[in-house]
Subunit: 365 residues, 2 copies
DNA sequence: AGGAATCGTTAATGCGTATTAGTTATGCGC
DNA sequence: GCGCATAACTAATACGCATTAACGATTCCT
């Protein structure tokens, strides 16, 4: 005879008054007249260990239903040595006051893919405030509570990241990040996308195309230039340093005069890289307007990415879209693979060409 | 002598190659030369059981840090403790493809407040896709992994919610929801806000004001009407059924004629309730336009909420803003209190009056 | 000086479930 | 009728952590 149900282990926080204890497998077992293990086996429902008689199975199922049994996820996860949690860590707030600055598009994909794979997400509210985790050197160590973790933005401290990677903790970075040996990441395929844009322009009849880029060397910039040059080459067009202009105020500013010079010289199309400020694109638009050349009848313009929000109105810009949602999903897929101990897959996600209205055939000579 | 680390319990999924398992308290203990219990005591950090020497405490902390120890949430939870995780559950996708339909404004507040209190967030990717969780009767049971859970939207199945509440699991619903006995919730104080709007109109000199509402009885509608009537009463203005118009197409539609009837009868201001469709406000604007009365010179208009996004341009509408971000924060505060076993606090968050330009003094008689 | 009170730590136990190694029934062949 | 495989369960154990009773070592008191 065992004590009824009054289990009041001392020291245990007193259960909130009036709280009906949830039924456990052991209670289902008692009601069904079998052992707890049997209940577990039946409820696991695996077709594999089918060594349970139909009669017993039914008794257990009935008992479980009548008691309203629900498994305790904590216990389940503890016993299974996994918790079906994927972390999401962004150095800045994940939900900044301004949606524009948020990772929302990524999160859409992350949530979808995570849900599809049965994972829940842990948002580490790190960094932003020093709440309880403070900003110690082990600030990132809480992420280990998940089975693996996604990092957004390039602000994650390299040292800590390296540590996680070295420990074999599954980590995926959204955005190219290959200076960190062994870090898995997913990124947009700027090379191919840029190359395609050039290809489209060439197909329209353009023979001389110039890339306007800013004067820094982020991977995103380098990739685009690389793709641009490959595109020229593939189309049999003149490449070389003359096809690329690094604008740098004030010495090498993109002025209307300079633009005129190019068009007079036979250049019929311009391509600008996308950056977070949209600097190159802004400069290009301004120069075109000041030079009083019409787009797209006199010059064609294309942007290697999407225009900044404040320039988003007006006719659609020829260029490509970065599939952030798909990137988020790809990141989760990759992370799930790492968690499962598989090898990393293809990290590049292709961008989608956007025809737009700022490019057309070159003017007749 | 115990086996080194090769713990390969049969049946357990083999750890991914090369992956160092997360450190456990027992490993921290070994490194620090103490027992697992001591580690637990030290890491619990309770000032209460201060029966640990500073020297030992330091050894343990160092060991934990150097191993990157992080407690297993499932184990913690199982041992009837807390794990500093708050759940966020929305029946629809938390990050829908369209930001407009998302809970973003709430999440901003939720994240801020959670971070400030040292909680991380678990996003339960429920329902939306049938991924792994399917739609069983225990769909909500996963939330029990967290210390408590926030529910967004009124789609959370009442049965499951009731179950969680009955079991004493801390739950907070964002948005009024008092048909469910014992469910904690936070909501906007529509009564006070509506009352204030009426007060402002009265202060401007309006003596007859009519409320245009839709024909349903959601709490949000009832609250607004209640506040509206209280406002009239406080200002000593005529209330009663005549002051409220339930528009219901087609029998009782809000037509220009009807509007004219009111203005001819001395009504100088109209107030519409906000709904998700914005129906009442749309009808009111249309009627005013068709009746060719000018706003605000001839009639004053106010909206008990914010205009729908597609009507957001033009002059600002007199009314009030629902402080979604603050609501999110308030929800977290309440949830934290419940988790701590305290009693629920004030669930209402006040709205902010928005002066706008659609209301002014009544025309001279 | 002998016993009590105190301090610092550890051994032991439980949380609820999954898994596996038994342990009984039952049926079978010879 | 006696092993022996098979079926149907159950006992035992581990998961990682929190909690507490118990214990050895000091220090304190009278």
């Amino acid at each position: 005879m065992d004590e009824p149900r009054k289990r009041s282990r001392p020291g245990r926080a007193p259960a909130p008054a009036g709280r009906t204890a949830r039924p456990r497998q052991s209670e289902v077992a008692r009601l069904a007249g079998v052992s707890q293990a049997t209940v577990s086996l039946v409820l696991a429902g695996k077709k594999q260990g089918a060594t349970i008689s139909d009669e017993t199975r039914q008794k257990v199922l009935d008992a479980a239903r009548s008691l309203g049994y629900v498994p305790d996820p904590a216990a389940r996860r503890l016993a299974a040595a996994r918790n079906d949690l994927l972390g999401v860590f962004s150095f800045t707030a994940t939900f900044p006051t301004d949606v524009q600055h948020s990772y929302y598009p990524f999160l859409v994909g992350v949530e979808q893919e995570a849900a599809a794979r049965g994972y829940d997400l842990v948002l580490f509210t790190g960094s932003s405030t020093g709440g309880a985790g403070a900003a110690g050197p082990d600030a990132l160590s809480r992420v280990r509570l998940a089975d693996g973790c996604l990092f957004l933005g390039r602000h994650a401290p390299a040292g800590e990241l390296r540590r996680l990677v070295a420990d074999g903790f599954p980590v995926v970075h959204i955005g190219r990040r290959d200076e960190l040996e062994g870090l898995a990441w997913v990124g947009a395929d700027y090379v191919s996308a840029s190359r395609e844009v050039v290809g489209r322009l060439a197909a329209l009849g353009h023979r001389r195309i110039v890339l306007i880029r800013e004067d820094d060397d982020a991977p995103a910039s380098t990739d685009r230039e690389h793709g641009f040059l490959k595109g020229l080459e593939a189309a049999g067009l003149p490449g070389g340093p003359a096809a690329v202009f690094r604008s740098a105020a004030p010495e090498r500013e993109l002025t209307a005069e300079r633009l005129r010079g190019w068009t007079d010289d036979g250049v019929t199309a311009f391509v600008a890289e996308e950056t977070d400020t949209g600097g190159a694109w802004r400069a290009l638009r301004t120069a075109v307007r000041d030079a009083r050349v019409d787009c797209p009848s006199e010059v064609s313009l294309a942007l290697l990415g999407s225009p900044p929000p404040d320039l988003a109105d007006g006719p659609q810009v020829t260029g490509f879209d970065i599939p952030r949602t798909r990137l988020g999903a790809a990141a989760v897929r990759l992370l799930a693979a790492l968690v499962a101990g598989e090898e990393a897959a293809e990290p590049l996600v292709s961008c989608v060409f956007r025809a737009g209205a700022t490019a057309g055939p070159p003017p007749a000579p």
